[in-house]
């Protein structure tokens, strides 16, 4: 899908504005952006909104049901987990981890991917071959096995989760950037810049990169949704964040043992993941429709 090549137009602010206007008109996409924003606000204002300390254990509230069920308590609306901690507060704080991991992994991966992709697409030759082989090797390695292996090697911890996820993630933006660069580098205005004696660095950063950012951003948002799910998968395999930190992935996976007796422990954080990921996906679909129409239809 990334090999599709179309003629590119030189940079123009007006185009960006028009795209933005298109995006704003897409109601579903705007609603999703608002949902994402609400989650982001939640991460910042967590101490203000959360009704309880997310790590406060109370063994006498172990597996307390949600407020509307028998045995529930409105002070703990969504019930309590296996250590009597408030699930709602943990979901609010957990948003921090999920969003942090999603953003940091994607920023890291996209940065590395842009550098490698630009180099491969612009210089071609042996640079392209070497980067291509590295990409092949990483893609040939099943994602989860790679992540599990890295986590086992480096030990648990938030930083290592980010690394384990980013190590391979850069391959995707790299492929996109390379394909786009290959197409753009032959265009007239790039040729013109080269004729004027601009250096490779200047051409890559100033002439090529701005023109290929749309697909990169679109791909980055989609992958961010995916990274949030992958973090949950790592938790499921026992390689999630360290306690007592709440992350949605670890809440779902710790709660799955109770699913027969206390469905609420894993169901609510699961819904939170679905809501956030869905919102990001819908928003990125909107972005793609507005900024990069050749992908959408």
């Amino acid at each position: 899908m990334t090999d599709v090549t179309l003629a590119h137009t030189p940079p123009a602010d007006s185009l960006f504005r028009r795209n933005l206007r298109d995006f704003r008109r897409n109601r579903l996409a705007m609603a999703s952006v608002i949902v994402v924003l609400i989650f982001v606000i939640m991460t910042v204002a967590a101490p203000l909104i959360a009704p309880h300390d997310p790590n406060q254990t109370d063994l006498f509230r172990r597996l307390q049901p949600p407020a509307w069920m028998e045995g529930g308590d409105w002070a703990f609306v969504l019930g309590c987990d296996g250590l009597g901690r408030d699930i709602l507060s943990r979901i609010i704080y957990g948003a921090r981890i999920s969003i942090f991991i999603g953003v940091v992994v994607i920023v890291l991966a996209t940065g590395v991917g842009i550098l490698a992709g630009l180099a491969a697409g612009y210089f071609r030759g042996w640079v392209d071959v070497v980067i291509g082989r590295v990409v092949d090797i990483l893609l040939g390695f099943p994602y989860l096995i790679f992540a599990i292996g890295l986590m086992a090697m480096m030990g648990p911890g938030l930083f290592n989760i980010v690394l384990a996820l980013a190590y391979k993630e850069w391959v995707i933006p790299c492929r996109v950037v390379r394909g786009e660069t290959l197409a753009v580098r032959e265009l007239e205005y790039v040729e013109a810049a080269r004729a004027l004696g601009a250096g490779s660095g200047h051409i890559m950063w100033r002439e090529i990169l701005p023109n290929i950012m749309s697909p990169v951003i679109v791909v980055a948002t989609i992958r961010m949704a995916n990274v949030i799910i992958l973090e949950a998968s790592l938790s499921f395999l026992g390689l999630g964040v360290q306690p007592p930190t709440a992350s949605w992935g670890s809440m779902v996976s710790d709660g799955r043992a109770f699913i027969l007796e206390a469905w609420w422990v894993s169901t609510f954080p699961g819904l939170a993941i679905v809501l956030l990921v869905l919102a990001i996906n819908v928003a990125s679909q909107g972005l793609r429709d507005a900024f990069d129409p050749r992908f959408s239809e």
Binding site: L59, R62, L83, G155, D254, A257
Partner: protein, 513 residues
């Protein structure tokens, strides 16, 4: 949304009678089990779950009754000739599954295969060699008696012998160690039907079974025709399978599922005292826990009873030393009270009036309990962060056998399947031994443990372990926590089966009504 047609399809398939499995005539006994067997070769593994399966196919010289007493099985009688010589008279008329007669020759072959270096073929030694202690030789005397000679006295030989199962010499020689991994020819109550790797092990009743240990009634062929070990690693799925009536026994029933399984009409819960002691190892080579007062503070900070009551649902026995209350040589010890104020006072005396900050390592499976302990420690001034690690990593970090170690505290456990102190006391407390995670070193205790290991007089030996327990109780290298029960979920259709403390699931006497 495209799920709807699929849901309809699913419903249609499920309700279409032609596609439902045909009714079974004689009901199979199905065990929902956590792990598949690694191999079916009794001499080539080192795992409890594997032994549980093998134990239904192969019998041993000796076995354990439901009360963990060692009784003769293939051996008719055991005589201790001297502290280092044991004679086993072999029962006659025992048949292997292929119909051949079992002889003393097979017993000697089996024991040699385990104890002699390189006896597994290809230059390999049995990984179970370590479970047989200092065996010097195995000989046949008088045709039907097998004599085991030890290099030095080892009083727990009878307690360890149920770990070895008798194989057929001719069968091993014909199929090799490679063949033994997937084929079997034992003398046990069941023979191998089909092994669907990773999914199920299907066993069939052996009709020519000699009956098993005479001390464990009933004696005779097994009650059910087929037994199936169905592998279900996810605990929620295992419980769901029991509640749905798909299986009759499940192991490792989580404590929070007890109420639900009891409330369900067709199922019940069975427990047996386990053999695994849980403890907090404190790094005695570290900066804070080299002080006895700090270790005592940690011990006073933890409300064991509350955790046993709320998280373990009352299914554990608290301990003040390393030994389970059921173990040989265990005795009543001075109890450490739950007293957070005293803990704070002890910390202050040790020079930490503002408390200390530490990290507690544990495995993912014990995260909940570890976090509960951590919050208790924190309340008493020992601010504790839980760090969950993988068991392989933690083992390397903490079980350094004398080499320097990092880390503050380790929430861990040690199993003691034989319930003999030798098996748990020595590895966890002797200086620089394998499981001495605390890095405890006490020459007086080392000498006492060495002495107890070879003491033949049971009463004297028990006294030595009592003395040893008092030593460690005073030094507090670990905070000794509890010994959990093994919890099983069972169908009410099941009869004649009770769980066993060594966590084996012997299905010889089990029936389905």
């Amino acid at each position: 949304m495209n799920a709807l047609p699929r849901l309809l399809l699913a419903t249609a398939l499920a309700t279409c009678p032609a596609l439902m499995p045909a009714a079974v005539v004689a009901e199979d006994l199905i065990v929902g089990f956590t792990l598949d067997a690694d191999t079916l070769d009794p001499a080539n593994h080192r795992k409890r779950e594997t032994e549980t399966v093998i134990r239904n196919i192969y019998d041993g010289l000796l076995t354990r009754d439901p009360d963990m007493r060692v009784v003769p099985e293939i051996a008719e009688a055991m005589t201790q000739v001297s502290p280092t010589v044991y004679d086993f008279k072999i029962r006659s008329g025992i048949k292997f599954h292929d119909g051949t007669e079992m002889t003393a020759e097979d017993v000697k072959f089996t024991l040699d295969r385990v104890t002699v270096e390189g006896a597994m073929g290809d230059g390999q030694t049995s990984p179970r060699q370590g479970l047989m202690g200092p065996v010097a030789s195995v000989e046949i005397v008088d045709g039907d008696t097998v004599r085991i000679t030890l290099k030095e006295p080892w009083p727990i030989l009878p307690a360890m012998l149920p770990n070895q199962q008798i194989v057929s010499k001719a069968f091993v020689e014909a199929n090799g160690t490679a063949g033994m991994a997937t084929m079997s020819n034992g003398t046990g109550p069941f023979k191998l039907g089909e092994w669907r790797k990773g999914d199920a092990i299907i066993l069939q009743r052996f009709d020519d079974y000699y009956g098993g240990a005479p001390d464990i009634a009933p004696v005779g062929a097994a009650c059910v025709e087929r037994v199936i070990f169905k592998i279900i690693p996810e605990s929620a799925s295992r419980v769901a399978a029991l509640l749905a009536g798909d299986v009759h026994i499940i192991n490792e029933l989580p404590t929070f599922s007890i109420a639900q399984v009891k409330a369900n009409a067709g199922t019940d819960v069975m427990t047996v005292n386990g053999t695994r002691s849980f403890f907090l190892a404190m790094n005695l080579q570290g900066e804070v826990f080299d002080d006895l007062k700090v270790r005592q503070a940690a011990a006073h900070a933890i409300d064991k009873d509350l955790i046993i009551d709320r998280i373990l649902d009352g299914t554990a026995a608290r301990i003040e030393g390393i030994l389970s209350p059921d173990a040989f040589g265990s005795s009543e010890l001075p109890a450490v009270s739950y007293d957070p104020e005293k803990a704070k006072a002890l910390l202050a005396e040790a020079g930490y009036p503002d408390g200390i900050s530490i990290t507690m390592d544990t495995e993912g499976a014990f995260k909940d309990t570890a976090e509960a302990i951590a919050s208790m420690l924190t309340n008493a001034g020992i601010r504790t962060t839980v760090a969950v690690g993988e068991s392989a990593q933690l083992t390397e970090k903490w079980r350094t056998a004398g080499k320097p170690k990092s880390g503050d505290m380790y929430f861990s456990s040690w199993g003691n399947g034989s319930l003999d102190p030798f098996d748990i006391f020595t590895p966890t407390h002797k200086t620089n031994d394998r499981g001495n995670s605390a890095g405890y070193a006490n020459p007086a205790l080392d000498a006492l443990l060495d002495q107890a290991a070879v003491e033949m007089d049971a009463e004297k030996r028990a006294g030595m372990y009592r003395e040893a327990e008092l030593m460690i109780n005073a030094d507090q290298p670990y905070v000794y926590l509890w010994v959990p029960q093994d919890i099983y979920g069972v169908s009410k259709k099941l009869s004649g089966w009770a769980p066993s403390a060594d966590s084996r699931i012997n299905l010889h006497d089990a029936c389905i009504n």
